[in-house]
């Protein structure tokens, strides 16, 4: 059962444009929503994260918008650059047995920024 749904699957943006990736979740027990960036052959790296009591978080060119009532959140990349070309994953963190804060991941969005 996919608890975090991510769209689009792939995205092409011109340099300088805005990249927008959307996620929706079902599990109300999630307490933390990170976005990860993954380059080919590398492990995921945390990009930015938000907690459900905040509606927006901005770090440089990256912004998360969070809508708790709709159970949706999105990543906006302003002034997109070719170096931003990567796969982006949204995730939700939930509490499990043994103090396990495991992440439930979306399927990923492959972003290509054309020069």
């Amino acid at each position: 059962q996919q608890q975090v749904k991510q769209s689009p699957q792939s995205l092409i943006v011109q340099k300088g444009g805005i990249s927008i990736i959307n996620c929706a979740y079902e599990n109300t027990a999630f307490d933390y929503f990170p976005w990860y960036q993954q380059f080919p052959g590398k492990g995921p790296a945390l990009l930015i994260a938000i907690r459900p009591d905040v509606s927006e978080k901005k770090e440089g060119r990256f912004t998360i918008s969070f809508n708790k009532s709709a159970k949706q959140f999105s990543l906006h990349i302003m002034d997109s650059q070719p170096g931003d070309s990567a796969t982006y994953f949204c995730a939700g963190r939930c509490y499990n047995a043994g103090n396990n804060r495991k992440l439930i991941w979306g399927l990923g969005t492959s972003l290509a920024v054309n020069p």
Binding site: V4, Q6, P34, G41, K42, G43, P44, A45, L46, A49, F89, A91, N96, A97, G98, N99, N100, R101, K102, L103, I104, W105, G106, L107, G108
Partner: protein, 113 residues
């Protein structure tokens, strides 16, 4: 080390063979996770260690999969009687505590032929 280190980076094995994948977490990180990432998918949770003990192994797909962390640092994921469906990238992550950011290694790409 500076980051999470996983070895080998690539492993090709024949169906039915046994494999071990190693994870060396960031020094001092007590929490360690194993995830599996298939092509075109997000990572899927396998097992979580807090210290030496497997606090949550609910993600292990079957009894062919086993992981240990005997001294609370390095962890080894063991797969017996490998099947072609086990082919994936196996990711390891560690964090200072369960609530803090998890840092990922570069993964081990396992190919079962």
């Amino acid at each position: 080390g500076a980051g999470v280190s996983q070895t080998p980076s690539n492993k090709v094995t024949e169906k039915g063979k046994y494999v071990e994948l190693r994870c060396d977490p960031i020094s001092g990180h007590t929490a360690l996770y194993w995830y599996r990432q298939s092509l075109g998918q997000g990572p899927e949770f396998l097992i979580y260690f807090q210290g030496t003990g497997a606090a949550d192994d609910s993600g292990l797909p079957n009894d062919r999969f086993f992981a240990v962390r005997p001294e609370g640092s390095v962890s080894t994921l063991k797969i017996q009687r490998t099947e072609r469906g086990d082919s994936a990238v196996y990711l390891c992550a560690s964090s200072l505590r369960g609530l803090s950011e998890a840092f990922f290694g570069q993964g081990t790409r396992l190919t079962v032929v």
